[in-house]
Amino acid sequence: MRGNTISQSSNTNLEAEWSQMLFEGATQMHDVIRLENVYTTYEGEKRPAIRNMNLTVNSNEFIYVVGPNAAGKTTLLETINGLLPPSRGKVYVFGQDVRKNGRKVRCQIGYVPQDFIVDPGEPYTALDVVLMGMYGKIGILRKPDRRDLNKVTRIMKLLGVDELANRPMGKLSGGQQQKMMIARALAKEPKLLLLDEPFSNLDIDSRQRIPSFIERLHEENGMTIIIVTHNISEISKRCERIVAMDNGEKITDEKLMERPFLLKELYQILGMEVSSRYGLS
C-alpha cells in the first residue's frame, strides 16, 4: 500500500498551503472557454471527429463531458487546449485564440491524457515526469529551482505518491502512474484542468479519494475543471453541469440542478456504464 493512500489528517496543512498557493486570478475570470461552430477533423480523415460544437465554460465551473466510446470527448479536450487545430470555427481560452496563442494558453492548462502508460524501460523517474509539467510555465532558459521542486513534492504528497518520487515511472502500477500524471497536471498551478478518463486505472480506495481531492481544488480554489468519462458512475455529486456527446456532436448541455434525472436519461439514451450509486441500474 506504500504511496497508495492519502493521509487526510497529515495533509490538512499542506492543503491550506496549496489553497494559498493557487490561482489568484482564476476566480476573477469569466468565459474561460468559448467554442464557436467548431469542427475538428483528424489528418487523413474526411469525417470530423467533432462537429458544430458550440460551448461556453465560465470560470469556476465543474463540468463532466460524457458519452460512449468514439463520441469525440478526447477530441474536444485536445481542441480546447490547441493540440488539435480545428478545421472550422474558433476556439478561445482565457479570451485568447488558441490557434494564435496556443503555447501561452497551454501554460495555464493542466491536462491529463487518457490511458497514458510509460514503458517499464523508460529512463525517467516519477519526479522527472511530474516536474516536467512545470517546464512550459517556467519558461525557456530557466532551470527548475528548489522552490519548484518543493512545490512538486508537496503536490505528490497530497496525492500520496511522494514516496515513489525516485522510482522509474515505467515501473509504477497503472494507478500510481495515473496519480503522477494528475500531479504533473497540477504542478503548473493551472487555472483550467482538463482530465481525460483520469480515474480509470485507480484502485477502489483512490477512486474515492482522488475525485474528492479534485472536488476540493474546485471548491476551495475556484479551479475550472472539465472531466471526460464514459462511465456515468464516476460523476461526482458536486458536478454542476453535464455535456453529453455522441457521434462527434453535443447532444445535451445541462445543469444537473435543473434536470435531476439527466443521468438516468443519458444512461437510457447512450447505454453508458452506471453503478447502483445513482439507483439507475
Binding site: 503555447r103 491536462y111 522527472d128 516536467m132 532558459l141 522509474p168
Partner: protein, 262 residues
C-alpha cells in the same frame, strides 16, 4: 594517424550524444534519411568534381529543412515520408556515383561509400570540434525542453513547450554531424554510429542524464576500438567500427538489468 584518432573520438562523441535524442524523440527514420541525404550529396560532389563535404552539407541541410515540416504538415505518417525520401536519396547517390567517370576506382567514391578515416583533414577536425562545442552548449541551455520532448512530444506541447524548433534543430544537427562523420564509416554505415551507442546505453540506465553522459563515451570508445581492430586485422575502418559497436550493443542486450526477471 593522430588526426584519425581525433576524428574517431569527436565523431563518436557527437553521434553517440545525438543518437540519444534521435532515438528518444522517435525520429530514427529521419536519421536514416539524413545520413543518406549526406551520402547522396557527397556522391554529387564526386560526380561534379567539387568538395564532397560541401555538397553533402548542402544536401543534408535541404533534406533537414524539408523533412521535418513535411512530416508535420503532410497528411501522411512520418514513416511514409521517410520511407520515400530514404530510397530516393540512395537512388540519387548511386546515379551521381555512376556519373562519376572512374566509378569504383576513384578514391573519393570509395571514401564516400565506405569512409576513410585516414583521410580526415585538419579542417574536418576543427569542424567536428566546433559542432561538438555548439551542440553541448545548446543541449545544456535547453536541457529541460529536450528532456520533456524526449519523454513525450505531445505532452510537452500540452505543457506549453513549443516542440517544433527543438525537433527541427535535432534533425538539422543530425544532418550536419552525419555529413562531418561521413569520412569515418561512409554513407552506407553511418546510421549505425548514430543508433548503436544510444541503444547500448539505454539498456543499462533508468536515468536520462546518465544516458546522455554515457552514450557519447560509448560512441567514442567503440570508434577508437574499431579503428584499432581495423589496423590490426587490415580491414576497412568503417566496417570494423560498425562491427565493434554492434557487438557491444549485442552484449548490452544480453547483460541488460532491464531484461532480467524480477
Amino acid at each position: 594517424m593522430q588526426r584519425a584518432l581525433v576524428g574517431c573520438v569527436l565523431a563518436g562523441l557527437l553521434t553517440g550524444l545525438l543518437g540519444v535524442f534521435v532515438v528518444k524523440m522517435k525520429i530514427s527514420s529521419m536519421g536514416y534519411c539524413m545520413s543518406h541525404g549526406a551520402f547522396a550529396g557527397a556522391a554529387l560532389g564526386v560526380a561534379m568534381a567539387v568538395d564532397p563535404l560541401t555538397t553533402a552539407l548542402v544536401f543534408s541541410s535541404i533534406t533537414a529543412l524539408f523533412i521535418g515540416p513535411i512530416a508535420d504538415k503532410a497528411r501522411l505518417h512520418a514513416d511514409v515520408i521517410t520511407s520515400i525520401v530514404f530510397p530516393l536519396n540512395m537512388a540519387l547517390a548511386f546515379v551521381f556515383l555512376t556519373l562519376s567517370p572512374e566509378v569504383g576506382l576513384k578514391t573519393d567514391v570509395a571514401n564516400v561509400l565506405w569512409g576513410s578515416v585516414l583521410s580526415i583533414t585538419y579542417p574536418d577536425a576543427v569542424y567536428l570540434t566546433s559542432i561538438c562545442a555548439t551542440t553541448l552548449a545548446l543541449i545544456f541551455l535547453f536541457w529541460k525542453e529536450f528532456f520533456a520532448i524526449m519523454f513525450d512530444r505531445k505532452l510537452a506541447e500540452a505543457d506549453g513547450i513549443s516542440t517544433k524548433p527543438f525537433v527541427y534543430f535535432i534533425i538539422f544537427l543530425t544532418g550536419f554531424v552525419v555529413t562531418l562523420s561521413l569520412k569515418l564509416v561512409g554513407g552506407l554505415l553511418i546510421f549505425a554510429l548514430l543508433f548503436n551507442p544510444a541503444s547500448t546505453t539505454l539498456q543499462f540506465s533508468h536515468n536520462m542524464k546518465r544516458i546522455v553522459f554515457l552514450s557519447p563515451i560509448v560512441g567514442a570508445v567503440t570508434c577508437v576500438s574499431g579503428l584499432f581492430v581495423s589496423l590490426f586485422l587490415d580491414l576497412p575502418v568503417g566496417s570494423c567500427i560498425v562491427l565493434v559497436s554492434t557487438f557491444v550493443f549485442a552484449l548490452a542486450v544480453l547483460l541488460s538489468p532491464k531484461r532480467r526477471r524480477r
